[in-house]
């Protein structure tokens, strides 16, 4: 093992050299001779064997005869011999007086054993080295045990788990590398210290009880505990504790293997926290959803009439509103189907369609007339939503309704009113058509039947004049002329009246009218009956207009005809026909320098059969201007006039540029 270099080599005497020792030497020799467990022999300075005891024979396998005189090199391995180990050992012994070492030695049979060898230098009386006493022990078993222990120890050292042991007094005995890493203490720091104080295990009472019990009963326990590392850091560990007892059953040592499970714990904690979060989240979501749901249900119950039926239509639930409107109590409704409120109003087809829709998983919407317990009817705007099971089949229906009875009543009333109104319109229209027909028939009669007698009057007056004129004096002829002229006047009156009434009934034919051409046509036509060659007639360029050309012809005929008529007594009659454009209308005008009229009677100017001049002054029927006003009004325009007695008159009419003849009958 180690060189004892600091020890002064003791001086031993060779046996037999001193008489004093001889005796004792003899006894000693015998003793040595018989020692069996130790090979004790003496070699000379060169290592040649001089003596050989029983133990040597026993250990090395050689007999004294065989071995005496041989060199000790025979006991060494080939390798040691080549390295000069035998010589080295002897030299060391010579140098220090004593040299002890261990090493592999070879038996006679070639087998090897682990030997503990002690060389002791021997000197003669003169102090000269005479040889060495050599004591060899076979400690192979011990060596192997030591090796095994070392192996285990190295295993312990490389283990990732903390491995430590402590004795019955809780004093730490061992502390491996991993323990150093995990707990932060070096072995040197903790060996012999109290284990509990060092790692301060944290465990609840149950665990502690269980640990003691099991360790006592079974000598073994394992479980999770928390240890405290340096600086108070808590380390969760999985610990296995085993008890070592001696042969007397007394506790010798506790061996602990601790696995650091902080990472695992952290993972677990993380997982736990995540789960917790998730749970919290789920819970809060669920709570929120449930609250939402409750809110919706509340809102729905408050706002609507709600009923839930199973797939067969049997009522499972009704809310307050349902009970209220139907007049039935909840008890009366639950378990019944909706026929309880059936009004019989809807067709079978209608109800069948409803069922086909919802049984097919579709939402049905519609208006239903139901009958309350009182027998009163009520209308509900209804939405029926099927709730579907996993197979997509409805397992219940929720019907949400809104009371629309008053709306329906209003609608029905409105409908009734509409119907009545329509009926009235039809009646009125018929009446109107009837009176139109009557008017038509009337004007037909007027035109045909009233004109014929007039013709007869004038005709027979003429015949009278022709056939019997020679029997009449001047007065007679004058009276005859009166008859004829009155008849003619009456004829014109009838014609004008007919024209006037016909205009009210005729559909206007819309078109673009060239006003200049129309005015020229009118003047030519007027020239056939009136003589106004000496008139000055100025016609400005006139913008076109939109309307019924025949009606506008009537307008121009009347206005120009009037101008001619009322200026006929002037020495130099002048008529001016003009047009002025505004942004959205054209104003046409006919001006004359005739007798004019008093604006005081303006209100009568456009009235039917209204005249501001006597028939003696100017012939006329009083229809012309009324006709003008009717036509212009029906074209959406307006008509007016300006005059002073004796200073001529100007008649204006305006037509909108966007004019469309309106068909309403005036």
């Amino acid at each position: 093992m180690s060189d004892n270099s600091n020890i002064q080599p003791p001086r031993h005497l060779l046996p037999g050299d001193d008489s004093e020792y001889l005796y004792a030497g003899d006894i000693f020799s015998i003793l040595v001779e018989n020692v069996k467990d130790y090979a004790i022999f003496i070699v000379d300075v060169d290592g040649n064997i001089n003596t050989w005891n029983k133990g040597a024979e026993n250990i090395k396998g050689y007999s004294a005869d065989e071995i005496k005189g041989k060199n000790i090199a025979i006991f060494y391995t080939q390798k040691d011999v080549e390295s000069g180990v035998p010589q080295h050992n002897l030299q060391q012994a010579a140098l220090h007086g004593r040299y002890e070492n261990e090493g592999w030695r070879v038996r006679k049979d070639g087998s090897q054993f682990w030997a503990n060898v002690v060389f002791t230098s021997l000197y003669d009386a003169g102090g000269l080295l005479k040889g060495y006493a050599k004591i060899t022990r076979d400690i192979t078993d011990k060596k192997l045990a030591q090796d095994a222990y070392k192996h285990q120890a190295s295993l312990l050292e490389i283990s990732a788990d903390a491995i430590f042991s402590f004795n019955a007094a809780n004093r730490l005995q061992s502390w491996n590398k991993a323990a150093e890493n995990i707990y932060g203490y070096t072995a040197a720091e903790v060996i012999h210290r109290d284990v509990v104080e060092t790692i301060k295990p944290v465990m609840d009472d149950d665990t502690r009880m269980q640990l003691r019990q099991q360790v006592n009963d079974k000598g073994f326990w394992s479980g999770e505990v928390i240890h405290t590392a340096r600086y108070g850091v808590q380390v969760p560990v999985y610990i296995s504790v085993a008890v070592q007892r001696n042969s007397n059953g007394e506790i010798e040592e506790y061996v602990c293997i601790c696995r650091d499970i902080s990472a695992k714990k952290a993972e677990e904690e993380k997982l736990r926290k995540m789960q917790e979060e998730l749970e919290k989240l789920t819970q809060s979501k669920l709570t929120a959803s449930l609250k939402d749901l409750a809110d919706y249900k509340y809102a729905l119950d408050k706002s609507s009439i709600v009923a839930i039926t199973n797939q067969k239509g049997i009522i499972q639930y009704v809310n307050e509103n349902f009970c209220h409107i139907s007049g039935y109590s909840r008890q009366e409704l639950i378990g019944k189907d909706h026929r309880i409120v059936n009004s019989g109003y809807h067709s079978k087809e209608f109800i069948r369609n409803l069922w086909v829709t919802i049984a097919g998983g579709n939402v049905w919407k519609g208006e239903l007339k139901n009958k309350a317990k009182s027998g009163n009817y009520y209308w509900v705007d209804t939405t029926i939503v099927p709730f579907l099971n996993d197979e997509g089949k409805p397992y219940q229906y929720i019907a949400i309704r809104a009371d629309i009875t008053s709306r329906k009543a209003a609608e029905e009333e409105l409908q009734l009113l509409n119907d009545q109104l329509e009926q009235r319109i039809i009646q009125r229209t018929q009446q109107l058509e009837q009176s139109n027909k009557e008017l038509e028939a009337f004007s037909y009669s007027v035109s045909h039947d009233l004109r014929s007698p007039l013709r007869s009057v004038s005709g027979f007056a003429k015949i009278l004049e022709e056939d019997y004129g020679h029997l009449l004096d001047d007065e007679g002829h004058r009276l005859l002329r009166k008859i004829v002229s009155n008849a003619l006047n009456m004829g014109r009156l009838i014609d004008d009246l007919l024209t006037f009434t016909r205009l009210g009934r005729l559909e206007a034919v819309q078109g673009e009218i060239d006003m200049n051409a129309l005015v020229n046509t009118c003047i030519k036509e007027l020239a056939q009956t009136d003589d106004f060659k000496h008139y000055t007639i100025n016609i400005d360029p006139l913008p076109a207009c939109h309307g019924d050309v025949n009606m506008f012809k009537q307008v121009w005929l009347n206005l120009i005809g009037n101008a001619i008529k009322y200026s006929s007594k002037q020495a130099a009659p002048v008529i001016a026909i003009k047009a002025a454009e505004t942004a959205d209308a054209v104003v046409y005008s006919v001006q004359d320098n005739g007798v004019g009229f008093d604006m005081e009677y303006y209100g009568k100017l456009f009235g039917v059969f209204q005249r501001l001049h006597s028939a003696d002054e100017f012939a006329g029927t009083g229809v012309g201007l009324a006709l003008v006003k009717l036509i212009i009004t029906r074209h959406g325009g307006s008509v007016w006039a300006q005059s002073q007695p004796g200073a001529g008159a100007t008649f204006y009419f305006s037509i909108l540029k966007t004019n469309r003849y309106e068909k309403s009958r005036t």
Binding site: S443, Y444, S447, H448, D449, R451, S452, P453, L454, R455, S456, S458, G459, F460, A461, K462, I463, V484, A487, L488, M490, G491, D495, L498, R502, L506
Partner: protein, 146 residues
């Protein structure tokens, strides 16, 4: 050319108008071969014969028909329709002479193929002139295929 025993068929229910018309025509010597019937039914009888007539009975067709519209029994429009839809009478000129200025009557008449439409003037001179002009035109001026 057929020999017409009849020049003018006057269909007029109003005796005064008829008298005035005939007088006007006579003045221009046009009333010699004139027949006056008092309504549409008589006119149709004269033109198409009546039930019980022997087949092939000779009927006198006028050169021109002066037709009033408003008449009892069958009115002038119906007579016109019958005249213009029958093969043998279609080509006879028909002049509607009416007091009516009713536009619908005029439209119907022209649609049915009337040859002239005259509104009887109230003033007798004009009336007389219109009638005589008509007679002159249809009897003397106008050429017919027969």
């Amino acid at each position: 050319m057929k020999n017409h025993a009849l020049d003018i068929l006057l269909v007029e229910d109003n005796p005064d108008d008829a008298e005035l018309t005939i007088r006007s025509l006579r003045k221009v010597n046009m009333a010699n071969k004139l027949v006056h019937v008092k309504d549409g039914a008589e006119a149709l009888e004269l033109l198409f014969g009546k039930e019980g007539d022997a087949p092939g009975t000779e009927r006198q067709l006028p050169k021109v028909i002066l037709l009033d519209i408003k008449m009892p029994k069958v009115d002038g429009i119906e007579v016109l329709r019958r005249i213009k839809s029958a093969e043998e009478t279609r080509s006879i000129p028909v002049v509607i002479m009416t007091s009516s200025k009713e536009q619908q009557d005029m439209i119907n008449s022209y649609n049915l193929g009337v040859n002239s439409y005259v509104v009887k003037p109230v003033e007798f001179n004009n009336f007389a002139k219109a009638v005589s002009d008509l007679g002159m035109y249809w009897l003397l001026v106008n050429e017919t295929p027969y």
